[in-house]
């Protein structure tokens, strides 16, 4: 065997590289031109030309030529060819090669969003795709966004955005991650703007990078005055945009008188306003379900409340407005509120640039003297007032008869992410570990186990076991209980036995007192970190576990207490020994935040210490008699 190893070490190495330097780009955009000509409030022409070289598989998605359209966008021309880098045709596409498909997303029953695209030839790298298209807009709510670098690891040689706007209209623009100003030329009828962004070096993705949309250059365009599906409006301010949205709301008082009576009687049975809101929210949740249908102005205009009541379904707009109508019948004012939903959505972060594209959802705001309540009307399960990671802690546009107003939804605190475990385990002298823990998932943390209480026993067991890495773990019992409805808290109770959890070795037993809460996310070494550090979501875990040790064993080597505290968070582990009992305490807090790149090594060290502590083992030794 020795000889064999020696041979391998002596093998002549055929390929050898050092690892310094940045990653090569996966694609280079050789030329990218967007020309956007506004004709009037409703009409515009957009011409796009792009030539891109793809170097590897990860770049394929950037080559895909596509154009989205709906009833307000007409595709006038679309051409494409695929060549090698010498310009030799790999595939000449004809008109008949364009595929035309619906892109209605899962969860939407009907809309008119469609895509046209050319199916590219799979080939070897590098290859070049050149395409151009022209589309005509009839109905303009927002103008295109220009972002020549579509993602990390893409380089741009030359790119240009030109915009022409008639003199009686205005152009607003917002720059992100660039400060390049347009060159402006005026003619008798129009004003021409032109931006050129050249030689943009590829930016590499790093662990905990901010999202690409925040660090790669973008130019956002927007109108002041617009007209969409025959509805004129203004994006001059949040107030005017809110006014447009308000006027789209269907008339208020159209519920069936019998339903109104029912609403009034529900409200009459409650004491406080918050109780009324809660009872009526539950009424709405029981009566409806979420179905999305988007057509024309229907993308912005809710279906009338009486229709929602009759059909028993609606989208976020329809359900929120229906709930607003229900509350109005009980004399509780509430406001239709437009927001960007999703865990990573930046909902109206451009507060100085009124727009519609930073939102995709509607909720309802109910101002109550003690505290404002926000209602998510598309969920049949949320407790009243719960927004969570879907729409919590972000900007939103409240819409009323006074127009629009920027507000912020309930902020999420680190306590809203708490996982709290209390447990008691017995370590047997054959090395098996038996016990039971109770883990509470609070606030946003509960979203991970939402609905688990209604799962079948088999699913519960399988889902739990799928996440556990203790071989042979015998799951004795499993149970989920909703503890507190208003501020969600789900309790997971697990009874288990792990045979051979501790390793027996002569007189000694080795075991890790951290059974289920081991941190595993680590950062790789990076001496030339380029981007700031972005911790998007906080982590908060508290564990306290009592172990009973087998008779006749003493702690020979304990785990040294650890306490690290810094701007990123806090980590604390202590194991105390009291006769045949061990008490294991662990607390980990990691705050949401944005930190300068210089602190990367500090964070890496922090994670490293956590990982190291979380896998440390204790040594027990048999008492000498």
């Amino acid at each position: 065997m020795m000889q064999h190893l020696g041979k391998i070490l002596l093998l002549v190495l055929t390929i050898f590289w050092s690892f310094a330097g940045a990653q090569d780009p996966v694609a280079i955009i050789n030329d990218y031109q967007v020309d956007f000509r506004v004709i009037d409030r409703t009409q515009a022409i957009e011409r796009v030309k792009k030539s891109i070289t793809i170097f590897k598989k990860d770049g394929d998605s950037f080559a895909q030529p596509y154009v989205f359209y709906d009833q307000f966008i007409r595709v006038k021309s679309f051409e494409c060819k695929q060549t090698d880098t010498a310009g030799k045709d790999l595939k000449k596409f004809r008109n008949g090669d364009v595929l035309d498909e619906s892109i209605t997303q899962a969860g939407t029953i009907y809309d008119d969003n469609r895509i046209k695209y050319f199916p590219l030839q799979k080939t070897t790298y590098p290859y070049v795709v050149t395409y151009e298209y022209e589309v005509e807009y009839n109905g303009l709510l927002h103008y295109p966004r220009f972002y020549p670098q579509p993602d990390f690891n893409v380089e741009v040689e030359h790119s240009q955005l030109t915009v022409s706007v008639p003199k009686d209209l205005d152009l607003r623009y917002k720059l992100v991650a660039t400060d390049i100003q347009p060159s402006i030329r005026e003619s008798s009828e129009v004003i021409n703007y032109s931006w050129e962004l050249n030689q943009l070096k590829a930016v590499n993705e790093e662990l905990l990078s901010p999202p690409p949309g925040e660090i790669l250059p973008s130019i956002y365009l927007g109108p002041n005055d617009f007209e969409y599906d025959g509805y004129p409006g203004s994006l001059r301010s949040w107030e005017t945009f809110g006014d447009w949205l308000y006027k789209l709301l269907p008339a208020n008082s159209s519920l069936d008188p019998r339903e109104k009576e029912k609403i009034k009687s529900i409200a009459a049975g409650c004491k406080s306003t918050i109780d009324k809101v809660s009872a009526l929210y539950e009424y709405m949740q029981k009566k409806t379900r979420y179905v999305s249908i988007q057509l024309g102005i229907g993308g912005f205009q809710p279906m009338p409340p009486d229709k929602v009541s009759e059909l028993g379904y609606g989208d976020c707009k329809a359900l929120s407005n229906y709930m607003r109508t229900i509350l109005a019948a009980a004399d509780i004012p509430a406001y239709y509120t437009v927001i960007g939903a999703g865990r990573t959505n930046t909902s109206f972060s451009f507060t100085d640039f009124p727009n519609s594209f930073q939102a995709n959802h509607v909720i309802l705001t109910v101002p109550i003297t003690e505290d404002t309540v926000f209602l998510e009307c598309t969920s049949q399960k949320n407790p009243c007032g719960y927004l969570g990671s879907f729409t919590g802690g972000r900007n939103a546009l409240l819409v009323s008869e006074d127009g629009g107003k920027m507000i912020e939804t309930t902020r999420l605190k680190i306590e809203d992410y708490l996982h709290h475990t209390v447990a008691s385990y017995v370590l047997q002298n054959d090395g098996s570990l038996e016990g039971k823990y109770e883990k509470n998932y609070h606030g946003v943390a509960h979203e991970a186990v939402q609905g688990y209480d209604q799962k079948s026993e088999t699913d519960m067991r399988n889902d739990f076991l799928a996440q556990i890495n203790h071989p042979g773990l015998d799951l004795k019992s499993i149970n989920y209980t909703i503890k507190e409805d208003k501020n969600p808290d789900i309790e997971e109770i697990i009874g288990f036995n792990i045979p051979g959890y501790a390793q027996m070795s002569g007189d000694r037993i080795f075991f890790n007192p951290n059974v289920f809460s081991r941190w595993s996310f680590q950062l790789t070494k990076n001496d030339s970190r380029k981007q700031p550090i972005d911790i998007g979501e906080p982590t908060y875990e508290v564990d306290s576990v009592i172990f009973s040790l087998p008779d006749g064993f003493l702690v020979e080597a304990n785990i040294d207490p650890v306490h690290l505290s810094n701007e990123f968070g806090e980590f604390r582990v202590a194991v105390e020994n009291d006769r045949n009992k061990l008490i294991f305490i662990r607390e980990l807090k990691l705050h949401k935040g944005r930190y300068p790149k210089e602190r990367y090594e500090e964070l890496r060290y922090f994670f490293k210490e956590i990982i190291k502590t979380d896998k440390a083992q204790l040594v027990l030794v048999q008492k000498k008699t």
């Binding site: 065997m1 020795m2 190893l5 391998i8 190495l13 390929i15 590289w17 690892f19 990653q23 590897k56 790999l90 035309d100 498909e101 619906s102 899962a106 969860g107 939407t108 029953i109 009907y110 809309d111 080939t123 070897t124 009566k287 379900r289 979420y290 179905v291 999305s292 912005f300 009759e310 059909l311 028993g312 379904y313 989208d315 976020c316 437009v338 939903a341 939102a359 995709n360 399960k381 879907f390 609905g451 209604q454 799962k455 079948s456 026993e457 067991r461 076991l465 890495n469 071989p471 042979g472 070795s505 002569g506 000694r508 790789t524 070494k525 020979e556 490293k608 190291k612 440390a616 040594v619």
Partner: protein
């Protein structure tokens, strides 16, 4: 951006894929009191956690000879009744009817009705599905779909939908899936097929069909002046009638449990209970038999006669000038095969499409230098034949295309072909689509049981298997107690299937950097100082990676005791089989052999206190085996661990053994060696 977002994606249980759509379902009840009964249901007793249950789903396909536009019409009727228990079942209230679009005609839904029933204060309230909740949408050039969303659906609702699909395409006799992702209490399908049409039927799935009946009955065509059945010789009397036999076949199932996906499974549709049809032939009274498919021998003959398959192998005049270049100085048959294989690799790129048929002709494929899998492998076969090597096409079905059912001959069973070289009664299978695969390695996607070797004698079934996925890891580590780390060399050799996977991942110029980054990302405390790849370009040899590395936090020292896991980061972290019980087979596709050897040098002044016990586990019939040993040899420890999976498919009754086998391995691989200061 319209405000169309959606509730949380986890709450949207349905898929818009066509395949899934076809399996979407619906009802049949004779009396209204059954609806009332369903409304009163609190839970489905056989599965109390089901969020919805299909009370009944009844379908019927039959033929109508009097369609005014296209004469022979294929009609599909369906009625489905669904009970919703809680909001997780709401997805069932939105459903889809996929419809095929042909060149001249298309399928249509002609009679769509729906009702939702709710119990209000003890009374049944009935809401009718109205037009505003029905949408039609063209999804692709070949398909459109009708989407329906049921009104007034709440927890506890029952709804029924019935519809009729009128189809001009007799080849598109609807398949029927009895099993769904929610339980189905009653499902029934009836096909009424006139003697003039013959279909091959295929019944599959793990849950048996409870009741199956075939009856013959006499039927009559015509008698009406509007009759437009052009297939029949008629006298000029338009009121003439023709009698014929109709075969009526019925399948029924009761209380089918919900289907759940399991890992390591081939396509889920292979396992759901379903019946499918393929048109075999038509034989109308006035005409000759028009064959579609019948036997595998017929399919063989038919394929060999097709321009885009067998005939393409005859039009190879252009190879005369190509062969000398491709063969070079090859003398033996092995050399000829190797040179032709290398020539095709160098000359042709695979466009990523799996196909049974050429996209054009082999001459232009050769000129263009690019083609689908059939283009490339047919050219390979043609060249091997040109060189005098006895070679036949082997048609097969890729893993994502489903299993081949030998009792059910259909051309569409196949979607791929490879070359089969006959040598002394053995078959050497060759696929030339993968630039990183050595000769004789069949890509994983093709390892799906059997293939059909197509020759002039009607063909035969052969096994499509591959050499095992073999890996060897050989390491030598030493302790650096001062720096609290371990350093050494890690050598990993990849053979056969594994070699091809490794090259696919890392053959690019930056491969070794990506390799380093990936390793460091996965293994905490690992620092790789250098990586060297060997034999990356020499396809017929085994490539390897050789790392010089440091490992931090991979041993613990307390007092005068040191303990560590001798498999370090190469230990298996968790059992891949987490489910407690399984209904469907585990299918690895390919055997594997994973070997690890470590030489661990003892630090000075330390002696071995204990090492893990040696074990050897063998599953019955040597289906899988594992050996582990750790021994002290002078001043080092030698550790050997080897896992071999010899059998590729494990049926559900062997699942417990397999799971237990992996549990023992994971546990063994987590054990530690203890050293003590002397």
């Amino acid at each position: 951006m319209k405000f169309i977002h959606t509730k949380k994606p986890t709450l949207v249980p349905f898929s818009i894929l066509f395949i899934a759509l076809i399996s979407l379902s619906f009802i049949y009840l004779k009396k209204d009191d059954s609806i009332e009964e369903a409304l009163l249901m609190e839970r489905y007793e056989n599965d109390t956690t089901a969020s919805a249950v299909i009370i009944s789903d009844v379908g019927r396909s039959f033929f109508n000879f009097d369609h005014p536009a296209y004469g022979l019409e294929l009609v599909f009727e369906r009625k489905i009744i669904v009970k919703i228990f809680d909001s997780d079942g709401y997805g069932w209230a939105d459903f889809y009817i996929p419809l095929y679009i042909g060149e001249k005609n298309e399928e249509d839904v002609v009679d769509l009705k729906g009702f939702t029933y709710n119990l209000l204060d003890g009374k049944v309230e009935k809401t009718k599905l109205s037009k505003e909740s029905i949408f039609e949408e063209k999804t692709t050039d070949d398909y459109k779909q009708v989407k329906v969303t049921m009104p007034d659906v709440r927890e506890g609702s029952v709804f029924e939908i019935s519809y009729v699909v009128s189809s001009p395409f007799v080849f598109n006799l609807q398949s029927w899936t009895f099993q769904k992702s929610i339980p189905v209490i009653y499902s029934e399908y009836q096909a009424e097929i006139p003697e003039y049409l013959e279909y091959n039927k295929n019944v599959r799935g793990y849950f048996p069909i409870a009741d199956h009946q075939i009856k013959e009955r006499m039927s009559t065509i015509g008698g009406k002046p509007s009759s437009n059945a052009q297939h029949f010789t008629r006298t000029n009397q338009s009121s003439a009638t023709i009698n014929f036999v109709e075969n009526v076949e019925t399948w029924k199932t009761y209380d089918i449990p919900a289907f759940t996906d399991e890992p390591y499974m081939t396509d889920a549709d292979n396992f759901k209970t379903a019946v499918t049809f393929e048109l075999a032939y038509t034989r109308f009274p006035n005409g000759t038999i028009e064959n579609y498919t019948t036997t595998w021998e017929d399919i063989n003959r038919k394929l060999m006669e097709l321009d885009k398959f067998g005939k393409a192998l005859d039009r190879t005049g252009f190879l005369k000038s190509v062969m000398p270049v491709a063969l070079g100085s090859a003398g033996s048959e092995d050399e000829k095969i190797a040179n032709i294989y290398n020539y095709i690799h160098a000359k042709l790129k695979w466009d990523g499409k799996n196909s049974l048929f050429t996209s054009g002709n082999l001459k232009s494929v050769h000129e263009d230098g690019i083609g689908n899998s059939a283009d490339i492998n047919l050219l390979l076969i043609a060249m091997l034949r040109e060189a005098g090597i006895k070679t036949f096409p082997v048609a097969l079905s890729t893993r994502d295309h489903g299993m081949i059912f030998p009792t059910n001959p259909t051309i569409t069973s196949f979607n791929y072909l490879v070359a089969g070289v006959i040598r002394d009664d053995q078959y050497l299978l060759i696929d030339a689509t993968e630039p990183n695969a050595p000769l004789g390695i069949i890509p994983y996607r093709c390892l799906n049981g059997v293939g059909r070797l197509l020759d002039n004698q009607g063909g035969q079934w052969i096994n499509v298997s591959s050499k095992p996925e073999k890996e060897k890891t050989i390491v030598e580590y030493s302790f650096d107690l001062e720096e609290e780390r371990i350093s050494g060399t890690h050598n990993h050799i990849y053979c056969d299937q594994a070699a091809y996977g490794f090259r696919n991942e890392y053959a690019s110029e930056e491969g070794s950097r990506t390799f380093k980054e990936n390793m460091e990302k996965v293994v905490s405390g690992l620092g790789i100082n250098s990586v060297a790849f060997e034999k990356m370009k020499e396809l017929q040899e085994d490539p390897s990676s050789l790392c010089e590395l440091n490992l931090e936090d991979h041993f613990t020292s307390t007092g005068d005791v040191i303990y560590f896991n001798p498999l370090f980061f190469d230990a298996m972290k968790s059992n891949p089989f987490k489910l407690e019980k399984r209904d469907y087979p585990v299918d690895y596709g390919v055997p594997s052999d994973d070997f690890y050897y470590a030489k661990i040098n003892l630090p000075e002044d330390y002696a071995v206190e204990s090492v893990p016990e040696e074990i050897s586990i063998i599953l019955p019939g040597r289906a899988a085996e594992y050996v582990y040993s750790a021994k002290v040899v002078g001043n080092f420890i030698s550790v050997r661990s080897q896992l071999k999976i010899n059998q590729t498919v494990f049926t559900a009754d062997h699942y417990a053994d397999l799971k237990n086998f992996y549990d023992l391995i994971v546990k063994k691989q987590s054990e530690q060696i203890v050293l003590k200061k002397v």
